[in-house]
């Protein structure tokens, strides 16, 4: 019973990841794609959590933290790139 | 506040040493006695009694959770309508808060209120520019919740 509920929620998560991939491929502008990547990261976190309940294993908890941190840093870097054209600004020495 | 916590920890350790009983339980009872001592002496410390600040933090956090629930229910309700009728736009909102922490907290809270995302803050930290999903319906409620948030934040940060 519980296994079936978890399986069903994994299917739902797969569908929502497919939807965000559609937005990632089609999205008319660059910020759309950055946003879709962020949503993809959040859905992946949920997927890993459901999977670790499904397997009753605590081995994947580091993966949750890592995906969270990496997707946040990636979003910030991409957003700066879209806004200014560079990720790390250097002081202009003239 | 940090000084008060330090004094409280010190009283806890002192109590544990006086008992000559190195256990978590005696440290905890010492900590409780320290809380009581600080409560009695609260008129003579420079800042507010820190449990009151802690209570304000808990209150702010519960507002946070409540707004998160209400706003996601509203957004999902808008999404699952058969025909989406929204009138989005950007409006400006003035704030009376000062300082980095207060501005950041208010921006975080407004981002989680129903149908509003903070887009830009003016260079002098006075005006927020907020994107709302449905302006005629929402700008009043954002204004109302803003005053509530400002009071809750001031309780935490101002002494």
């Amino acid at each position: 019973m519980i296994q079936w509920i978890l399986f069903f929620s994994l299917i739902l998560l797969t569908f929502s990841i497919l939807v965000t991939i559609y937005r990632l491929v089609k999205g008319p502008t660059a910020p759309d794609r950055v946003q879709a990547l962020d949503a993809l990261g959040i859905n992946l976190i949920a997927g890993v959590a459901v999977f670790s309940v499904y397997l009753r294993s605590t081995a994947f908890f580091e993966v949750i933290l890592l995906i969270g941190i990496l997707s946040f840093i990636g979003t910030i870097a991409f957003a700066r790139f879209v806004e200014r054209g560079v990720v790390i600004e250097r002081k202009q020495s003239d | 506040m940090a000084l008060q916590v330090l004094i409280n920890l010190f009283i806890g350790f002192l109590w544990m040493f006086f008992q000559d009983n190195w256990s978590v339980l005696s440290f905890f009872s010492g900590y409780l006695i320290g809380l009581f001592v600080l409560f009695v002496l609260r008129r003579f410390t420079s800042t507010k009694y820190y449990l009151f600040t802690l209570q304000a933090v808990v209150q702010l956090f519960s507002i946070f959770i409540y707004e998160l629930f209400a706003s996601s229910i509203l957004v999902i309700w808008k999404i699952i309508q058969p025909k989406i009728n929204i009138r989005p736009g950007i409006f400006s909102l003035e704030t009376s808060l000062q300082g980095d922490i207060e501005i950041t907290l208010l921006a975080l809270l407004i981002t989680l209120t129903p149908g509003s995302v903070v887009m830009e803050i003016s260079p002098d930290n006075k005006v927020f520019y907020i994107h709302a999903m449905d302006i005629p319906e929402l700008s009043d409620s954002v204004l109302r919740s803003k005053t509530r948030f400002e009071e809750a934040i001031k309780k935490v940060t101002r002494p």
């Binding site: 859905n43 976190i45 933290l65 | -």
Partner: protein, 133 residues
Amino acid sequence: MSGSSLIELSIAVIILLGTILGFLSSIGFIRLPDVYNRAHALAKSSTLSVLFVLLGTFLFFLFLEGYFSIKIFLGIFFVFLTSPVSTHVICRSAYHSKVELAKESIQDDLQEAMEEYTRKQQHNKNTEEASII
């Protein structure tokens, strides 16, 4: 039905609720018209869904395995703190790179403010150059 299986069932229902919320908000990714409106779906509903799922996982391992996982707790805290920030940054970069608002929009206060700001900056630059010369 024994107690532990009842707890298990309720935790599974919490996780299912979270994934349903995530699915609905990702439908919003298709249906809403522009970046700024999709940010609402990202900031609120996706965050709430992942919070539900992580809370369900935390309770599952707390009650059924007796394992208090501080990592999941940190994950909840982190997602809660970073998701509004990343939404704000995406919206800001979209506005600065001149992505247009959807055609249903009825108000835009930021545009005037930005124009005034750039005009002031240009003015400052001009006066600086004049003073150097």
